[in-house]
Amino acid sequence: MESESPHGATGATPTYRLTEDQAALRDAVKVLADERIAPRAAQIDRTAEFPWDVKELLASHDIFAIPYPERYGGLGGDLLTVCLAIEQISRVCATSGLIVAVQELASLPLLLVGSDEQKERWFPDLAAGRLLIAFALTEAEAGSDAAAARTRARRDAATGDWIIDGSKRFISQGSVADLITVFAVTNDAEGTPRHQRLSCFIVEKDMPGFAVERIEHKMGIRGSPTAELSFKGVRVPDANRIGDVGQGFELAMRTLDRSRPGIAAQAVGIAQGALEVAAAYARDRKQFGRPIAEFQMVGAMLADMDAQTEAARQLLYKACTEIEAGAPDAGRWSAMCKLVAGDTAMRVTTDAVQVLGGYGYIDEFPVERMMRDAKITQLYEGTQQIQRLVIARALTARR
């Protein structure tokens, strides 16, 4: 819509586009991803080893710094800018994109309610990538029902420290992180509302009693170690408590409202990567004397893949701006973009394998890896079923 006024008649922003800064940062990350990360992706998947070299690359180019405030060495970027970086990296390597997403996810409780002392203490190292941080909410028996966590933190009356006991499962990068954002039960007295049972703590990897029990063997995102963590009488000073006692569950939910777009960005990136491989293949591959892209059944698949990916991307970008603007239905936007992007990534990568035929099914081309990587985006940070639950509740609560 054209308008003489810079803000149009409705007061809306004149353009519905990325800012110059956002586009410049996205393009810089894209070049880095294409030239430095893409060549490593197949090997990262094959060896299932955490790519420390990629982590260093991301650190030295300030990509971890995006979400942290400038006064702590960050770039003060908004949620959309973080997502643009995750998307571009995931386009070539979902494991590498996840490194950025997890760093942001596990920092969110600190970003949301951390004290100035806590931010001063940890943010400079997190922004510079000198420290990695993981997010430990899920337990073996508390997945979608996070409030059912059993890991406990009891107060040592003499010192004021907290003693944490329990275990956490499916913790992305739990074995390579220096800090773990842990949610533990601090109040399970009879009659305590479920959402007031948990509190949030930062556990440091060298604290006695903390251990990595095992690493899962996974279908995708194989370079990202998914760990089971145990806490046996881990003594944590009260200075490591994030937010108020009993505020943990609410904090976890607010965290997920802002972190699910990161996973949606990973999903959009994976879909885009698969689409690009499939389109290039369809242009080059000849059967019956012409490129298979000229066959309408293949062309139609590519068109649908492109349209669906773009739709997921636009929902993600819109969700980011709504969440950043403090929309009251942030949880709904967050769930919707993750739902749509995750399902899109699964569909588009599956179709990409189809376009490549037999070549799509072997590891000579990256689309089989992308298809395996895509699946996780339908599972973590809330299954697609949980996203639908969140959306449906938001919808019916307004009536």
Binding site: A28, V29, D62, I63, D284, Y359, E364
Partner: protein, 264 residues
Amino acid sequence: MRIVVLVKPVPDTASGGERLRPDDWRLDRAAVPAVVNANDEYALEAALKLTETHGGEVAMLTMAGPTAPETMRKALAMGAASGTLVTDDALGGSDVVSTTRVLAAALKGLEYDLVFAGADTSDGGGGVVPAGVATLVGLPYLSYAARIEPNLETKRVRVHRISPTGYDVLEAPMPALVVATQALGEPRYPSLKGIMAARSKTIETTGIPADTAPDAGTLGGAASTTAVLAAEAPPPRAATRVVRDPADEAARQVVEFLAERRII
């Protein structure tokens, strides 16, 4: 130490859309996005490394169209402190002589200990502008540098120049003009903080320096000593056979292909 790097925006060959204008066979610069000439990036990288070691800063000098600041931002994001753009409609179609005279005149208004240039540009490809600039300004000319060692105390610079048999070691008083090569090391990727910082750096835009040309018609396309009479696309490549089989089988087919043609 202050180093001025000559930087030229060139068409991005990766875009695949570069073409010549059919009326005058000049490069259609509007048809494709511009990037920093790759060899200039190597010169810039070498300059940045030297100022990181010895202190000082890097400035860039560009002669190009009015949209050049977009491209020059990339160099600022890599770490250059500032830029000067010489632009004027009359400079369109400049040959190497015009370009040399304008850059030499513009350099006279800048302070520097060293001037760096890339070996050549990916669009014009003349490769003589740096030598011309050094001649007009009266600077020692040290070409094809694989190593650059300035000495700020003696005010001299030593360069390892690539030669057919190894290296020639050249030394000259500063200021001097040095032509960088890819042997100096891969250019860095701009960091995100570098990109943000580049937004607040200054690119000064100027017209044709006053003492370049006393009379009009001695610069730009009007004065060009060369003209393109015709251009045609190269013939399409013969059919390419792509072997996608596993390595052993692929190698066998390649050997067979070459042997059939008596190439091996």
